[in-house]
Structures are given as structure tokens and as C-alpha cells.
């Protein structure tokens, strides 16, 4: 069983804080001249999906590798958080 709660009361201040963090991150990247980094470009594009619904899923889909077949050999290093198309 679940009782209803007000999501704005629960999460607005947290989301507001995170939104300002995102804004500050973008300013920081701009000042450091890294706006051509593919991860930043994908990040900016991902902001566009926030206008629709199912936003969390859409953002995750946006950053995902869209290919379907296994690759020949595992690449070195950790995942980067955004898919880099060649």
C-alpha cells in the first residue's frame, strides 16, 4: 500500500540544486574551451529530450550505443558515459 505525497515538496529543492550544478558545469566547460568534446556535445543534445515525456529513459537512450552486433574485441578502458560515433 502506498499513500500519496507531493513530489514538488519532496524534490523541488534537490532538482533546483542539480539544475544549477548543470548550468555551472556548462559554464565551466565553456570557460575551459572544451565545448568540442564529444561528451559535451552529446550532453547538450540530451538536454533537448527533456521537453518530452519519459525523460529519464530518453536521456539514457540518447547516451547509448545504438549498434546491435557484438564488437570484434573489447576496447581498453572504462565506459565514457556517452557513445562516440565514428
Amino acid at each position: 500500500m502506498k499513500s500519496s505525497n507531493n513530489m514538488m515538496d519532496l524534490y523541488f529543492m534537490d532538482a533546483r540544486s542539480k539544475l544549477i550544478d548543470i548550468a555551472a558545469f556548462m559554464d565551466r566547460v565553456e570557460r575551459s574551451g572544451e565545448t568540442e568534446d564529444f561528451r559535451y556535445k552529446e550532453f547538450v543534445k540530451a538536454l533537448g529530450v527533456l521537453h518530452g515525456s519519459g525523460r529519464a529513459e530518453a536521456v539514457l537512450q540518447h547516451f547509448s550505443d545504438p549498434s546491435e552486433a557484438p564488437i570484434d574485441q573489447a576496447t581498453a578502458g572504462p565506459a565514457l558515459g556517452a557513445f562516440q560515433s565514428t
Binding site: 500500500m1 500519496s4 529519464a56 547516451f63 547509448s64 550505443d65 573489447a74 565514457l80 556517452a82
Partner: protein
């Protein structure tokens, strides 16, 4: 509140963490075999690790009255050398019938390579041959969506596989639906950055919790992770209005139902 931590890499944690888990209400931890942060140089290294998981770690947990269960496998990150991986796989059967072993895991894909896929399928067959439960790791970040699809496709190649005996872990909003629709269990991992926060986990429980094929875990290890992530998710569930019976189902009864299928004996 009682809960089961169904995915924690306790060999990477201190006794302080066991104490904190016990004080938070943790009754049992389940520890999958995983990558140590570096590639092991020999098969003997895996043998020692499997002994650690099945003999030494349960004793550490018992000092805080926490039951310790483990999963045995070669992880996907060290599966890129198939000859080496197959030598490790030969070691596994002797550990599968230890009293604290739940099954084969966490197997799966890491970078979605052909070698990873081959070793994954061989370990699925191993689990079937030995009537074991299966715990599956899904890849990180940009590789997760593709890896989850490939994993489900490969599992469908085993017609004798009961999806109710397979847990596919580390789901997020873009993968949970396909895992549950295929009849598998789904694990939600609570990580500070790279996987899921407690509010997002509760969002998914609101949407899919009625399937009763979900669990949450911290997957705490040697990286940035939080062994108390699950108690924090319990607080989040309370904030969102879930009653104690529903929370108990999410954090105790559901994981219990899954791991009991292994046949391990524990004073539940």
C-alpha cells in the same frame, strides 16, 4: 528494518562496513564473483578468490550475525582471453555445491565483445548443467542498452532456461521493461554516480514493483559506492508513502524468494 543486501563485493570492504550493515538491519549479503580492479595473472588467482568467497568471507560476516552467500564465475571483464577463461570455468563446478553458493554469477557482458558473449553462453550452459541460479551483470553506461538486448537474445537460445531463475542486474529506466517483459528478475543498483539513485529506484518500483521480480542492491565494491545505499532507499520509500509491508516485500521477501530457489539452507 530487516533487509537482504543481494549484491555486495564485501572482499573489498572493511569490518566497519559489516558493522554498519548489521546495525542498519542487514540479515544477509550475497556476493558475486567479480573483477578485482586488475586482471589476475593466473588461474590459481581465481581459485584463491573462490576460496575466499566460500570459506573466509562467510566467517567475517558471521562476526556480525550476517549470513553470507556467494556466486561463482569468471567475470566478463576477464573473459576477453577465451583460453584463460575456459581454464577458470573448469574450476567452477567444485565450488557450486559449497553450502553458501547461490549459483553462477555475475556473468554477462562488459564491452559487448564476441569473446565476452562466447564465455557468457558457456557459463549459462554450465549453470544449466549443474541446475544453478544465474546472476547477470549488464554493462556500464553507454554499453548497457545494447548489452542488455544482446544478453536477452542469447538467453533465448537456451529453451530449457527458466527465466524465473535468472536475475539480470543493474537495470535502469531504459532496460528494465525489456528484462521484466521477458520473464526475468531485474536488479536495481544504487550507485552514487553511474547507475541509479534512491529516488529513481523508487520511481521504477512504483511502475514495476507489482511484478515482484525486482530487488535493489548497493553493489558496493572497491570503487565509489555506498554499502548503506539500501537503507537509504528504504528511507526514500517511506518518504514516498510506501507502507512497511510493501517495503519489506521489496528489500527482504523478494530477494529471499529468488535466492531460496538455490536450495541453500539458512534460518530464514
Amino acid at each position: 528494518m530487516r533487509y537482504i543486501e543481494p549484491h555486495a563485493h564485501m572482499v573489498s570492504r572493511t569490518m566497519d562496513d559489516y558493522q554498519a550493515l548489521a546495525m542498519a538491519g542487514c540479515r544477509a549479503v550475497c556476493e558475486p564473483a567479480f573483477w578485482a580492479g586488475f586482471d589476475r595473472s593466473s588461474v590459481a588467482g581465481f581459485y584463491d578468490y573462490f576460496c575466499q568467497l566460500t570459506e573466509y568471507e562467510p566467517k567475517r560476516a558471521a562476526k556480525y550475525h550476517i549470513a553470507h552467500f556467494s556466486w561463482i564465475c569468471i567475470n566478463p571483464k576477464e573473459a576477453e582471453d577465451p583460453a584463460f577463461a575456459r581454464e577458470v570455468i573448469q574450476l567452477i563446478p567444485q565450488f557450486l555445491h559449497k553450502e553458501n553458493v547461490l549459483g553462477v554469477g555475475e556473468i554477462g557482458l562488459n564491452k559487448n565483445s564476441k569473446n565476452e558473449a562466447a564465455i557468457f553462453q558457456e557459463q549459462v550452459q554450465l549453470a544449466l548443467d549443474h541446475d544453478q541460479l544465474i546472476l547477470i551483470h549488464t554493462p556500464h553506461l553507454e554499453d548497457k542498452l545494447k548489452g542488455t538486448k544482446l544478453t536477452i537474445d542469447m538467453l533465448r537460445q537456451f529453451p530449457q532456461l527458466d527465466p524465473g531463475r535468472v536475475m539480470i542486474d543493474h537495470v535502469e529506466e531504459h532496460t528494465i521493461q525489456q528484462v521484466l517483459d521477458a520473464g526475468f528478475w531485474a536488479g536495481i543498483t544504487l550507485y552514487p554516480e553511474s547507475k541509479c539513485t534512491p529516488p529513481r529506484a523508487v520511481d521504477m518500483l512504483e511502475r514495476f514493483g507489482d511484478t515482484n521480480r525486482l530487488w535493489m542492491n548497493s553493489a558496493c565494491d572497491w570503487g565509489v559506492s555506498d554499502p548503506l545505499a539500501l537503507p537509504k532507499a528504504i528511507l526514500e520509500l517511506r518518504k514516498r508513502g510506501f507502507d512497511e509491508a510493501a517495503i519489506d516485500r521489496f528489500v527482504y521477501q523478494n530477494p529471499l524468494k529468488f535466492i531460496q530457489q538455490s536450495g541453500v539452507i539458512w534460518e530464514w
